[in-house]
Subunit: 193 residues, 2 copies
Amino acid sequence: MKRSLGAKTILYPAPVLVIGSYDKEGRANAATAAWGGICNSEPPSLMVALRESRYSFESIQFRKGFTVNVPSETHIAEADYFGMVSGRKVDKFAATGLGYERAENVDAPFIREFPLVLECRLSRSIDLGSHYELIGEIMDIKVDEDMLGERGLPDPELMRPLIFAPVFRKYYGIGNYLGEGFSSGRRFIETHE
Amino acid sequence: MKRSLGAKTILYPAPVLVIGSYDKEGRANAATAAWGGICNSEPPSLMVALRESRYSFESIQFRKGFTVNVPSETHIAEADYFGMVSGRKVDKFAATGLGYERAENVDAPFIREFPLVLECRLSRSIDLGSHYELIGEIMDIKVDEDMLGERGLPDPELMRPLIFAPVFRKYYGIGNYLGEGFSSGRRFIETHE
């Protein structure tokens, strides 16, 4: 039996994305968002939803670029903190001790200690009401070499990305490997045709 | 040391979303997408990225509504299958034996056996190149009663949603509980201020 909960923004899993940007003065900032993900393949693009009031929003509009940094389980406290305070008031890198480097392809910093970075050129900002969707064209992704697995791609079991449950407000790790995509569904094709 | 992998659409975790729609003739269809998520809070909205060529795209434009159904681990084969074949040719409900019901708030079917359903009114279709972002205003969410946990919200440890790794093409389960949001980061606030 299903129960109606009303119009809530609950959808699992959500990612934990740390947005890297330089402000107008060139200070590096990191801000956490759980609403975002890949949205297009040609050109390769992702979207991140941010409120206009966030400091990163202003910086990204000015610099026309940002990075999306995916933390490992080991940096749960830092990732959580990056979403709790504003870079308008605090130097979050100084507070956490994490380091950054300038991205190669966009005018934004990436977080040195996080295993996966997507360098994004701001291609569109779409006003949806409370939030803007920032559409970023992915110019390059960078991965820690020791996170690479099969076919030279980042392996989630090595990376151990955080998983967030919005509204429920809890973090989880990645669990057991369950199967290959475009594979376990084959049995219904064989059965039915 | 980080290695450049070029402009790839790799971002972990991605959700496994099964889109429910009725076609012009009223036949129920289910199609899997990994690119989507919440994108706005007022009005509560989500986005799903679909190619224009997909049958569901056409149906959703016609019906102005769709459902987003989140499968549990137990339905990995069905969820995978829903992304492998087109509803233009096959009755996917007949093939898998899953059932559906008409949504209350939109002209679309939802999947009876999946624990979480979001009923969405199509509010915008945004052309991003290869894909369209379908923005859906969330009219209601429905959850199996036995999946409700703390504060009457769906508990991911009970729901066991699938987690997808795009490009790497593997499914994972949800892992260990790691911590509360807006909580573990507090130690940097106390340390620094």
